[in-house]
């Protein structure tokens, strides 16, 4: 730890990134307060923010290469936790999902949230060796295997929302590991084409259940969908966002959609809707800009990473964060079906903010060592 006090290190430390992340998280805490002023979520989130800053700095001043080196140990430990969480009485079942492990005195934490870090490190470790050729099938299979273990365990909880957030990690790593361009394009075209086909086939064969159809219908045509049934969440979120208007309605907090419980899960999944209601278009655009700057700074750091491994770690983190932002905000804006994915740095939840902080800590650590080889 003496090393971190070296002058050079402090000069290279990415203060802006740290401040930006902390600012977004503080803003998120404020919004959590708006969402549930009577509950203690915003206080917990404040404590979480404090812990996260400490953890972020600790990770940032640790040499990421050492951590990548022992990544398999983290990975196996994470898998163990994912198994443990499935054990009844240890794993807590909330809303039909067994995702949490209770920690006496601290509350509960979500292993699937933390498992993203070892998964990223494992992928970066495996794909981080200097490349001289295009991606081989063996490599692809290995990458899929690294991903499949945690995703499979998470699906057993079952937590579909968390598990899909793992896929962009692999996708980014493969994309940056010389997967042939025509394969990428072919996959994109096929994927795009297969969505309507799969939808049609699913509806015809009954594989897509009526309530799932309703969730899609409400996105395609919110005015005529079942707004009181399965389309309720999406419709209420659209109303809440729209109500915010240009400047928001923070002063009329008493009548807010979340206070009257029209908006479900306002402090977690729908924190963006709360932000939209209270700060309006201006607040939302500033938030999206903050994310844009944050992600751009991360990518900037990846470009200057001392090695492939570091670059892959940061880019996988970028992919994961961007994907989560897209899924969460897209859901809040009624563009995507309801999937329980937290908004990075904004949604209430100790596990989410901690794992995001660890990820950003890695990015800072990698940048700190850009001149060291």
């Amino acid at each position: 730890m003496v090393a971190i006090l070296e002058k050079g290190r402090l000069r290279d430390f990415d203060w802006l990134l740290t401040l930006l992340a902390a600012a977004i998280a503080a803003f998120g805490t404020w919004m959590i307060y708006y969402a549930q002023p009577d509950q203690g979520y915003w206080k917990k989130q404040l404590i979480g923010l404090g812990i996260s800053l400490v953890v972020m700095l600790t990770v940032a001043f640790t040499d990421y290469r050492k951590l990548v080196h022992i990544a398999p140990a983290f990975y196996i430990f994470g898998l163990l936790l994912l198994v443990v969480v499935l054990v009844p009485r240890i794993g807590l079942k909330i809303n039909g999902q067994r995702c949490w492990i209770g920690v006496p005195g601290l509350g509960q934490f979500q292993p699937s949230e933390f498992m993203k870090i070892p998964t990223v490190l494992m992928l970066a470790r495996y794909f981080g060796r200097p490349r001289h050729s295009t991606l081989t099938i063996k490599e692809t299979i290995m990458g899929c295997a690294i991903l499949a273990l945690p995703v499979g365990l998470i699906m057993l909880e079952p937590d579909a929302g968390q598990s899909i957030t793992y896929f962009p990690l692999l996708a980014v790593v493969l994309f940056l590991s010389s997967v042939r361009m025509w394969l990428v394009i072919a996959a994109l075209v096929l994927g795009t084409a297969s969505v309507p086909a799969a939808w049609y086939a699913g509806v015809k064969t009954g594989a897509i259940k009526p309530y799932q159809q309703e969730r899609i219908n409400v996105i395609l045509d919110p005015e005529n969908a079942d707004r009181r049934g399965f389309g309720y969440h999406t419709w209420q979120s659209i109303l809440t966002v729209g109500k915010g208007g240009l400047t928001g309605s923070a002063t009329k907090g008493d009548a807010s959609q979340s206070k009257l419980k029209f908006l479900p899960e306002p402090h977690t999944d729908f924190i963006f809707s709360v932000t939209a209601e209270n700060t309006g278009f201006i607040g939302c655009v500033l938030l999206l800009l903050a994310y844009a700057v944050l992600l751009t700074k991360l990518i900037h750091g990846a470009r200057r990473a001392p090695d492939r491994t570091g670059m892959l770690v940061i880019m996988a983190i970028v992919g994961g964060l961007a994907f989560q932002i897209f899924i969460n905000v897209g859901m809040a804006l009624g563009m995507l079906p309801v999937i329980g994915v937290p908004l990075p740095l904004m949604s209430a939840g100790l596990s989410a903010i901690l794992s995001t902080s660890v990820a950003i800590g890695f990015a800072i650590s990698i940048r700190l060592r850009r001149f060291v080889n």
Partner: protein
């Protein structure tokens, strides 16, 4: 890149990811712009609508009083359980039947019927599931707000009528406005009913359906207020946003004198068949002091119990009852007037010159021979003048008077006394009397359609071609009593003013919009002669109406015995109707009345004593000095 890896286009690939990330954020921003900036107002309104609800505060309906301020009808609070249509969109109505019928102890069949009806209504707001909810029902609803948020408890003022049927036909009753009524111009078109502009009707409203409740619904109905509340997603009230207090309806003061009304009803109740009608009027104004029709019914049945299966059975039984209790005999019963018809005949005979003051003699002859048919008189009166003919009710005299006047003369009389028109009383569903005319005979007896002299004979003594409503006959008689002013009989004395409440403007006092009386040309000497005859009916020896005599009070009157079937068969339930029409004091009338007792026989025997008792009741309050004191012997017996 720090490390050399140019062979794989790594820089480009990183740039692609960067571009993708920024593109995603731009797309989200564009969607935000659409939702918040372009459509923000629309969504804000939608959010506002689901947050704010208006709960109706029903306005108390005006009470109804008699002319002395005695309460006849008022309202008390009850609670209804209603189903709000707002919460029913896209839900299966039938699924509610089982839990509701169980939880609220309601008949499932009836419930299904109500829900079915409501679900097919386009502009449906709410449907009543149960009336008169008990405290247990209310707490059941409150305990199930989560599963059944569409259930609401509504305070509903409940009308209270005298349960023994007193004044039922006059007061009428209230009931929920029907979907058909909502479409009628009188309930929605301001051109037809200007009151709907200020106070529109909505489905579920309780309105007057019969009697004065219906005629003066516009005065009695208050203006509903509302409570604007903020609700959460479960419909639970968070706080009040605004309260607009309701404006109560205007109280009605009727012209009815409750004591006279009760006396009149008592007379009918005590009559042999308990069927008949008594109407009392103030001849100088047309104000109705009493209007009793028997048998009667309990209006509370229609305002409260009608929605229950028992209530429906009860109402059906009333509808099928051969004695027609629902029927207001005063304005809807058409009866042959019998000899009461002779009074307007006498007035018209004098007016038209068929008889004169100097020579009013006509032959009785014990009857009259027309062709091969002899129509007899009840006695042999020689050749009486008008005074005697009225006093003894000589049929022979009026056969010949009718023949002298001819059908056209009789029709002229009918027209003069408005006997072929509605009286214009302020009650719904009044019928027009049937009166003699060639068209009426052609319709009445198509096999022998031509009008003959024998028909004129019949028409001249109140049989066969004469079917008048008791009110129309009383109105004519009252005009004769007051010297020729044909007033519109009415029940409204005033609708009391109501002061302004919140946004609702004050409502001014209202009175019956009397049209001026129709003036009849009855010269004073002719008037004197006819009234003298009627006075003699009651007060001279040989008069047919002696039973109506009141000591010290100059009662004038005329009996009538209306044939229901031909002579000889007039026994049992086909007995003649007994009439008595009367006013007093004869030459300065302040009260007039008509009594009809159905199927009992001679007018002097049943109707006249009933009239006598009503005069007694009137005198004891209007002229206590004239009221008969109990005889000394009677006083002694009581002690």
């Amino acid at each position: 890149m720090k490390f050399e890896d140019e062979t794989q286009n790594l820089k480009v690939r990183v740039a692609v990811i960067h571009g993708l990330v920024l593109a995603i954020l731009v797309v989200l921003g564009a969607r935000l712009y659409f939702l918040q900036v372009i459509s923000g107002g629309y969504y804000a309104e939608r959010a506002e609508n689901q947050r704010v609800r208006r709960l109706r505060i029903p306005a108390p309906r005006g009470a109804i009083f008699d002319r002395t301020g005695k309460l006849l009808v008022d309202s008390r609070s009850t609670y209804n359980i209603v189903l709000s249509g707002e919460d029913m969109k896209g839900k299966d109505w039938n699924e509610l039947v089982a839990p509701l019928s169980e939880g609220l102890d309601a008949d499932p069949g009836l419930l299904r019927e109500r829900l079915n009806e409501a679900s097919h209504q386009a502009a449906f707001e709410e449907v009543t599931v149960k009336e008169g909810a008990t405290p247990a029902d209310i707490s059941w609803v409150e305990a199930h707000t989560l599963e059944l948020p569409m259930l609401l408890v509504r305070e509903q003022p409940q009308r209270r009528y005298p349960s023994n049927g007193t004044l039922a036909h006059v007061l009428g009753y209230v009931g929920e406005i029907s979907p058909e009524q909502l479409k009628q111009p009188r309930f929605k078109d301001p051109e037809v009913n200007p009151f709907v502009k200020d106070n529109p009707y909505h489905s579920g409203d309780i309105i007057g359906q019969e009697g004065l409740e219906s005629t003066y619904d516009r005065y009695l109905r208050g203006r509903d207020g509302y409570r604007e509340v903020e609700v959460d997603s479960r419909g639970r009230i968070q706080r009040d946003l605004a309260v607009v207090a309701p404006q109560p309806g205007q109280d009605l003061v009727t012209t009815i004198d409750l004591d006279l009304q009760l006396t009149a009803e008592e007379q009918l109740r005590n009559s042999p068949n308990k069927r008949g009608v008594i109407i009392v009027i103030e001849p100088q104004s047309g104000e109705l002091l009493a209007m009793a029709s028997y048998p009667t019914y309990d209006p509370n049945l229609f305002s409260q119990r009608i929605s229950t299966p028992e209530g429906r059975r009860e109402a059906n039984a009333l509808l099928r009852d051969p004695t027609t209790p629902l029927f207001n005999r005063a304005i809807r019963g058409r009866y042959p007037p019998g000899s009461t018809w002779k009074i307007p005949m006498a007035v018209a005979g004098l007016q038209q010159g068929a008889i004169t003051l100097k020579n009013s003699h006509l032959v009785c002859g014990g009857g009259i021979q027309i062709g091969n048919k002899f129509t007899r008189c009840m006695g042999h009166h020689g050749s009486p003048e008008l005074h005697t003919a009225i006093r003894v009710s000589c049929d022979g005299y009026f056969y010949r008077l009718g023949l002298k006047m001819g059908l056209d003369g009789i029709m002229q009389m009918v027209d003069e006394f408005d006997l072929n028109k509605k009286t214009g009383v302020d009650l719904p569903h009044e019928l027009v009397s049937w009166t003699p005319s060639r068209e009426f005979k052609a319709r009445f007896n198509p096999h022998d359609a031509e009008w003959k002299d024998i028909d004129t004979v019949y028409a001249s003594f109140g049989q066969v071609y004469d079917f008048v409503t008791p009110l129309a006959m009383l109105r004519a008689q009252a005009a004769i009593a007051n010297g020729g002013r044909l007033y519109v009989p009415h029940l409204l004395k005033e609708a009391k003013p109501v002061s302004a409440v919140g946004p609702f403007a004050a409502r001014p006092r209202q009175t019956f919009d009397h049209p001026d009386p129709k003036l009849l040309d009855i010269p004073a000497d002719q008037h004197q002669l006819v009234v003298g005859g009627m006075w003699a009916v009651v007060n001279e020896p040989g008069g047919t109406g002696g039973a109506a005599r009141v000591q010290g009070f100059d009662v004038a009157g005329k009996t009538g015995t209306a044939q229901v079937v031909g002579l000889g068969k007039d026994t049992g339930k086909n007995k003649d109707h007994s009439w008595f029409v009367s006013y007093a004091p004869a030459f300065k009338p302040e009260i007039a009345m008509i009594a009809l007792i159905e199927n009992v026989g001679f007018g002097g025997k049943f109707a006249a004593p009933a009239v006598h008792n009503i005069y007694q009741s009137y005198l004891s309050r209007a002229h206590p000095e004239l009221a008969p004191r109990p005889a000394t012997a009677e006083v002694a017996r009581k002690q």
